[in-house]
């Protein structure tokens, strides 16, 4: 069994390079379009814009800032949505209290930061607190109504209403900002030219270090999840569970234990994302439903239950919100939903989803 699997894997790996060439051979027009778009995007980002171009599209600084903000916001959305999609993919639970977990994590992280003064430690606290709530939800509620999709969804909806009201009770309605730690505070120069002064001096983009650090962390977490999924035993169990839960349990694996672990991990990720959100923007009343909706849109666009889909969807939605905020102010948020509608109409299972 295992040797056969291993052999298959190796053959796949060897052929992967050819697959790209073959794909280009089969779709020459699409490949050309993609190549042109990539080159155009690289030019837009790296080269200084000519004056006439800037007159039409505005300052390059605005565009590049929106682009960076979009990508880093995409990183935040990925952290929230990957937990949501993981839970959905394995257990078919639509956890409408996911936004509440995000907000709860943010508040707990804020409290931990106030007590200990350590920003990194607050992530641990938020992860553990939300994981505990997640385990409680899984054991006390979901396990008791296995297979009743609608009831589970409604219960999480009720929970989210109660949680959000209780959080208002404890922390009030005012926005809370989590302070950036000193070692990540302030902007850093990036090698991207935004303008050339008349004196010939080039101006490089300055960007907040903390956002870049969080983006890097999101990428590390994403790659780590991908590796854990595809290279470890528990990842194999999760993938098997996503494909056929009943068969996995018939084979003697402890599916319920797996469920608890995955639920705890997804909830913990949402909690950590709460701190990221609190550092990026702020956490306040109403952010729970905002981030629940963001994760919904991200997983609908990317494909439900797919981690790479969540990454792609998060990037698209983050970019569309930030670019939209600069170029179409009246319709910024609607743009993200418009993308969702188009994806649904063309590919109801999402960009990377499986039927």
């Amino acid at each position: 069994m295992t040797t056969a699997f291993g052999d298959d894997g190796r053959i796949d790996g060897a052929r992967r390079g050819d697959a790209l060439a073959r794909w280009i051979g089969h779709h020459p027009v699409a490949a050309l379009v993609i190549a042109v778009i990539v080159i155009l995007a690289l030019w837009l980002i790296l080269a200084p814009w000519p004056a006439g171009f800037e007159n039409v599209f505005g300052k390059k600084r605005l565009f590049v800032n929106a682009l960076f903000n979009g990508i880093t916001l995409g990183g935040l959305y990925f952290l929230v949505a990957s937990g949501f999609t993981l839970i959905f993919g394995l257990m078919r639970y639509v956890n409408l209290a996911h936004g509440s977990l995000y907000l709860f994590g943010g508040y707990m992280g804020y409290e931990a930061g106030q007590w200990t003064g350590s920003w990194l430690f607050s992530y641990v606290v938020a992860f553990i607190c939300c994981a505990i709530v997640g385990v409680a939800m899984q054991v006390l509620i979901f396990r008791r109504m296995e297979g009743e999709d609608l009831r589970q969804t409604l219960v999480t909806l009720g929970l989210s209403i109660v949680f959000s009201d209780l959080m208002v009770w404890v922390w009030g309605g005012n926005a809370i900002q989590i302070d950036t730690p000193d070692y990540l505070a302030g902007p850093v120069p990036t090698p991207i030219v935004v303008a050339v002064r008349s004196s010939g001096e080039t101006v490089f983009l300055q960007y907040p270090l903390v956002r870049l650090a969080i983006l890097a962390a999101a990428i590390v977490i994403g790659v780590g999840m991908w590796l854990a999924f595809n290279r470890t035993r528990i990842g194999m169990m999760i993938r098997a569970g996503v494909d056929d839960r009943d068969m996995l349990s018939v084979l003697g694996y402890r599916v319920q234990l797996l469920f608890v672990i995955v639920f705890a991990f997804g909830a913990g990720l949402a909690g950590m994302a709460g701190i990221v959100g609190g550092t990026f923007q702020s956490i306040s009343l109403g952010e729970d439903s905002n981030f629940l909706l963001a994760s919904l849109v991200v997983v609908i666009v990317g494909g439900m239950g797919s981690i790479p889909g969540a990454a792609l969807g998060a990037l698209i939605i983050g970019l569309s919100e930030q670019i939209g905020a600069v170029y179409f102010q009246n319709y910024a948020t609607v743009l993200a939903f418009l993308i969702m509608v188009i994806v649904l109409a063309i590919r109801p299972q999402g960009l990377l989803g499986k039927r």
Partner: protein, 356 residues
């Protein structure tokens, strides 16, 4: 199942007894509705305008919007959270096309053009929402319709040229015709009662018509219906269109009754409240949403005072609503109707025991 059990012993009885039994069963089943109808018609004779307008009238409008959700969820198996949004589209359109305090946006068309057009636009929107979500199933529908509802909320919040952004519209009066000013509490009450009763009867009728039966078949086993030759997607989209019509009428009435509409009339919490109303009332019978709506309106109006009276913080209203919703979902999946059915079944059993 329950029906099969109650009619099970019937062949043993003589035909005459069976018929009178059926008649009495029909009366006993419909008596509560008939009594309720009479009570609602004579209510203006005894109640003041606050109760007519702010309690019963509001509950009937919310009940209509929740009824459109109940129709989709109960008979079609599609829990659409976009029904309040459909009502909101109709409400916004009546403000844009008809009369409001904003001459810069409103077109001031007469009500008999504005109202049907507003309803038609809302039905088109509801059908579009249905077409988007009908190709997916079950819990996907909730997610997609919730996202659509959020999209409309943000659109109204951010868009000033058509929806007047944050402020929305005020002073949108009900029309005057047949020599009656429908703005007065009693005419407005009867108008709302008429449309609520009409939509109730319409849903009941459609649920027993061939279309409704086919829809219930689609709910129970889409694959088999497809195999028999029914167009599953078309049935679902048609159900969305019918539900949108009810929600749209409810939306127009809501605006006429409230005299205003703003993004917060179609916010996420309102959208979710409609779902709560339908679920708490029960989605197995069209009366459920109206029961849920009257419970919600009474709680909404009096819970603050009630909470303070028993020494609790009145601001924890949402917790009470959420906990009540949780209890219903956890212990009586069929809502208040389920409780009522269980209670009457219990009584019947107890009565049968005594007779024996």
């Amino acid at each position: 199942m329950a029906l099969a059990q109650t009619t099970g012993p019937a062949p043993l009885a003589v035909p005459g007894e069976e018929r009178s039994g059926a008649l009495s069963r029909w009366v006993s089943r419909h008596a509560p509705i008939l009594i309720l109808g009479v009570l609602l018609i004579i209510l203006p004779a005894v109640a003041n305008s606050f109760i007519l307008d702010q309690i019963v009238g509001w509950a009937m409008i919310l009940g209509m919007i929740a009824l459109s959700l109940m129709f989709l969820a109960g008979y079609g198996g599609m829990v659409s959270l976009a029904q309040m949004t459909v009502a909101g589209v109709a409400g916004y359109m009546i403000a844009v096309l008809g009369t409001s305090s904003l001459p810069a946006i409103s077109l001031f068309w007469p009500w008999w053009v504005a109202a049907p057009l507003a309803i038609a636009i809302a039905v088109a929107f509801g059908t579009f929402a249905g077409a988007l979500s009908a190709r997916t199933e079950g819990i996907y529908t909730i997610m997609i319709t919730l996202a659509l509802a959020a999209a409309f909320f943000y659109l109204t919040l951010q868009n000033w040229p058509i929806f007047n952004g944050f402020n929305g519209f005020t002073t949108i009066p009900p029309p005057q015709f047949l020599g009656i000013n429908w703005k007065d509490p009693i005419p407005l009450y009867y108008m709302i009662l008429f449309f609520a009763a009409l939509s109730y009867v319409a849903v009941l009728y459609v649920s027993r018509a061939p279309f409704g039966l086919a829809l219930q078949g689609v709910r129970d086993n889409p694959r088999r219906m497809e195999a028999i030759g029914y167009n599953v997607t078309a049935h679902r989209i048609a159900a969305y269109a019918f539900a949108a019509l009810i929600a749209a009428i409810g939306g127009v009435l809501l605006v006429w009754q409230n005299n205003q509409i703003s993004p917060f009339s179609v916010g996420i919490d309102v959208v979710i409240n409609i779902l709560i109303i339908a679920i708490v009332g029960g989605i197995s019978h069209p009366i459920g949403p109206f029961i849920g709506a009257i419970i919600y309106v009474i709680l909404r109006t009096f819970a603050l005072d009630g909470l303070v009276a028993v020494g609790l913080d009145g601001r924890r209203f949402q917790t009470i609503i959420g906990l009540g919703f949780l209890i219903i979902v956890l212990f009586s999946p069929d809502g208040v109707i389920g409780l009522w059915r269980r209670w009457t079944a219990h009584l019947r059993e107890a009565g049968g025991g005594n007779a024996r």
